[in-house]
């Protein structure tokens, strides 16, 4: 078991090292997320004032869109010089490889989310930092759920031709519960009278979603990656 996590961590560390040498994914994803927020500001700011409750939706849509971009890129890299084949041929459990890739994506998305939250707090005057613990819990559980489904789908789409188009097509319908729960919880946090019971409910639902889909993904990664 300890070996399993060690291998996963090695894969994560490899991804972090590749990233810190170029900073390509962090910079492009951050830029994209920021422009997403800007696009929404055109729709949701009327006469200089943001529409109430818009901030929660903007945060989550920016997370979902920039997350998709990062997922596609993270696996595109594995295509160079058949790196993915090399990874899959390593005499280790494939589930560990999946977990390693997932962890790297979650870390990257966490960096992007930190910036998105700060940006939205400033530009939309949203009291996102009123309950930082609850917000972090929502974002963490939501990101793990989104990235779990995304990592599996991006990995299995590596072999297909139109993967760029197919990833969002497959990913969004399956992760709708994550987005509904994430937006629902954040709206409940940002209300003038926060409904913490509802926030706890959505976080619990996200934890359950993470548990079910992480189990399913670890279980199906081996067969879907076998040609």
């Amino acid at each position: 078991m300890a070996n399993f996590f060690k291998i996963a961590w090695l894969v994560t560390r490899k991804d972090i090292r590749v990233e810190t040498r170029s900073w390509e994914m962090v910079s492009t994803t951050l830029f994209f997320a920021t422009s997403c927020v800007l696009v929404f500001s055109f729709a949701f700011v009327r006469e200089g004032r943001p529409i109430e409750g818009a901030a929660a939706g903007i945060v989550w849509i920016a997370v979902a869109f920039s997350g998709t971009l990062a997922l596609g890129r993270a696996f595109e890299r594995e295509r160079y010089q058949d790196a993915m084949r090399g990874l899959l041929m390593a005499p280790v459990e494939r589930a560990a490889i999946f977990l390693g890739k997932l962890l790297a994506i979650v870390l990257l998305m966490a960096v992007v989310e930190a910036v998105i939250v700060l940006f939205v707090t400033f530009t939309f005057r949203a009291p996102l930092f009123r309950f930082p613990g609850y917000l972090v819990a929502l974002l963490a559980t939501g990101t793990i759920g989104f990235a779990t489904v995304g990592t599996l789908f991006a990995a299995m789409l590596l072999r297909t031709r139109s993967r760029g188009v197919l990833l969002p097509i497959l990913l969004y319908p399956v992760t709708f519960p994550v987005l509904i729960a994430g937006v629902g919880g954040t709206v409940a946090l940002l209300q003038s009278e926060p409904n913490l019971d509802l926030v706890r409910f959505w976080t619990a639902l996200l934890v359950l979603f993470d548990a079910v889909f992480l189990t399913l993904a670890l279980w199906t990664f081996e067969p879907v990656m076998t040609e």
Binding site: L152, I169, V174, L205, V212, F213
Partner: protein
Amino acid sequence: MMAMSTRTFGGLLCVAGAMFITAPILIASAPYESTMGLVQKIFYFHVPSWIAMFLAVFICGFSSAVYLFKEKPAADRLAVAAAELAVLFGLMGLVTGPLWAIKAWGVWWQWDARLTMALILELIFLAYLLLRAYGGPGSEKLSAGLALFGMANVPFVYISVNVWRTIHPTTNVLPSLSSSAPGMFGPFVWCMVAFLVLFVVMLTARVRLEEQRGRLEQLYLALER
């Protein structure tokens, strides 16, 4: 089901046809619903189409799991047939629903829990078909993974849209129908059975088509060697 003989298949097809021909007569003779009147009769086709869709979703999900872990091609053929039926019956529900809604609620679409859930499931299985159509070789396994995830998603979609809806304005949705009106119950069961027979007929035909396609592909490959 796969080994169903042409005779049984033809018989079932006739049964389905006869039931659908008689269904309008039964529906016309059923009592009118007190508040909605004539438009409520969409119910007899609307509800069975959703039930058929859910049946298709679970058949697709389970046979995809079997294909993924046991690598049986027959399971994949069943999965693709069921996925197409899920989209087809879902589309029927999505067409009949707004037709009913515009008369009963005064709007085409309501962001009600059930409607949202139906739309999400329809999208998941449309994505399945898109993946199969444009994924290229090897997309069978990938779509099996998607179908498994789609099926596991059903309870989450159900819970999330139900709670999400309660913090939005709600309308008086679907008054209870079958328990209070025995005159409507008979035609409803008739239509339900008609839809299920049609479902079995279409599923069998589609699975057979997929079998023939696979055989043809093998013959082409053998010819090229």
